[in-house]
Symmetry: C2
Subunit: 363 residues, 2 copies
């Protein structure tokens, strides 16, 4: 089976030896096995704050809460800010685990219309007027599942709307450093004070560490820490100490540069295979970064049926419907290009072509 | 400062070298840095199931969900089973982070009267009739903060009541293996099917790992896993793999035997110092295991005021009031005897004696 389904980093690119050395050094201190502060390892918070600052987002260690992956950060935000009857605004389509998390908190989810560059600020203004959302959740850079990136002018417009209407913006940014073309766009959080930013080591180091962070205004961070304490007291002291050691002793930028080079090749291999693999009339977005290519098949195709054919051909993807907050477009699907090396991508795309040619109605 | 406040294991008794070796072996496989199943590492689940079975609680790997410490297990139970208006029954006094967790979920907390051996089954029956609780939370073995242990007959009676009234029993058991006298009492979960058991490596290995587990009936485990997925996707793959390696290659029973020997000495040192350190009329429980000694000072003492005097004497404890769900007894306090070696306990008890003699009203 060749899977383009999960948003998994390439395991052969993990810096296993670097992490092994970091854990070994971290475990030379007995304190690493003890209880620790809820807010996180002070050294790790300082190193992440430095890194965020260098990326264009001035950040102090005290602005950060270390979380058990950025999925936990999302749940902490939902638990702290939302309750039954609250409204959450989202891009559509958007990260499906975020939708599940908001629904579990009892909130009503309202989509904000957008285009190939993401949410339209005037559409957000309309949603604010009609629904008074507590927060807007978005992945502004290399979005999951669409791969699209919100331009700087729109980011500033969203930040202004958030200030005017006392709306929280939740900027989920796991992919921002995985850029394969073009120049970085300033983080949404650099445009205003109503932004909660979620970051993660999952895509740039390794997801098995479950290390993420949350950068929030000082008015909000103490309540988020109380929620975190009830959630798991604190994130693994061992993993945090290993990450602090790793960040202090490794050239992470060089590692990310290697990931970029390799993932760029993989994206290119998948994009190159798409015209021959898909029926006429299929459209897709060619992303500047991240992990995903988002496709729309022509006509009345239901990609959940296509998936059954694809699995018989030994290839997997994710049908697009679950990424929609309201009315799904069943002709959409998501392909992940990071997990498999280029040659395997090419083989997988041949299999996908076979599945699509036998399951998509002729135009 | 000598602290008898936090429920911290003794850091000098951590098996640092054993864990260092376990992390090193676990990190020889790249998969250890990848995403992993929400339910937990299959090898770790199997090893914990074996251990629970040998402790008298027949358990299969599939009965378990690995959690980010047992604090997470508690929050998963609250999120899955409770909502605004739900009622939770508790021992009184009880673990204060559990009280906070239930309050955050919007539940109403109702105490069940008990005596020096814990909850009285007839009192639970009365609470069920009057309040229809969804669950009863208790630490039946070496309770936090009282150190008391619920006898086997009462456990069976509670399990019968749970069956009859469709009540869930949440058995929080972080201390059960730390017994210094007497013979083990069968786990509450061995008496019936309405029990969710929470276990943890925090007190028998190391809390910094944040590794706990939840054993629940098959009817409940899938919903708890959905809540876990929203909470943090899964617990650190690295920590779980290290724990599986550690449990497979180390004689944990021998390590726990060493903890028992050392902690027994510490409990005895603190108990021996109490008559001279406390005013006439002070009462305490001498626990068979666990980490805590619970005291009641005579008369109208307010231990939060006593604490201020104690801190000036360079000794700390936890005032008892926050452990109460309803009307607190301000003359109570909790001492932890595991963190400090015996000589330091003796010094700390001299300081406590000085604080008590200057702050407790004469009888």
């Amino acid at each position: 089976m060749i899977s383009f389904a999960g948003g998994l980093p390439a395991p052969e690119l993990f810096d296993v030896e670097g992490w092994r050395a970091a854990f070994d050094r971290a475990l030379s201190r007995p304190g690493v096995l003890q209880y620790a502060p809820t807010e996180g390892d002070p050294a790790l918070r300082a190193l992440i704050a430095d890194r965020e600052t260098r990326r264009g987002l001035p950040t102090r260690a005290d602005d950060l809460l270390i979380t058990t992956g950025s999925q936990q950060a999302l749940t902490l935000v939902a638990t702290t800010l939302l309750g039954p009857g609250a409204v959450v605004a989202v891009e559509e389509p958007t990260y499906l685990a975020a939708l599940q998390c908001f629904r579990m908190s009892g909130a009503r989810v309202v989509p904000v219309p957008g285009d190939d560059q993401g949410i339209l600020p005037e559409a957000l203004e309309d949603v604010i007027d009609r629904h008074q959302p507590t927060l807007l959740y978005l992945v502004p850079t290399f979005a999951n599942p669409t791969g699209r990136t919100l331009p700087a002018t729109r980011r500033r417009a969203l930040a202004r709307l958030a200030e005017t209407h006392s709306l929280w913006l939740v900027e989920d940014d796991p992919y921002g450093e995985l850029r394969y073309r073009g120049t970085p766009v300033p983080p949404l959080a650099a445009s205003g004070d109503r932004v909660i930013s979620l970051g993660s080591l999952s895509k740039i180091c390794a997801p098995g560490l479950r290390l993420g962070w949350l950068r929030a205004p000082a008015t909000l961070l103490p309540s988020l820490a109380v929620t975190k304490q009830a959630a798991d007291l604190h994130t693994s002291t061992v993993d945090q100490a290993a990450a602090a050691t790793y960040l202090a002793t490794t050239d992470l930028d060089a590692h990310i540069a290697r990931l970029r080079t390799e993932y760029r090749t993989r994206r290119d291999a998948m994009i190159a295979a798409l015209p021959a693999a898909t029926p006429a009339g299929t459209t897709w977005m060619d992303p500047d970064g991240g992990m995903f290519i988002w496709l729309r098949l022509p006509g009345e195709t239901d990609t959940s049926a296509t998936l059954r054919t694809a699995l018989r051909e030994q290839v997997a993807f994710v049908p697009g419907a679950p990424f929609y907050a309201t009315t799904p477009d069943p002709s959409t699907l998501r392909l992940s290009f990071t997990t498999n090396p280029p040659a395997r991508i090419t083989t997988g795309m041949h299999r996908l072509a076979a599945a699509l040619s036998s399951s998509v109605p002729n135009q």
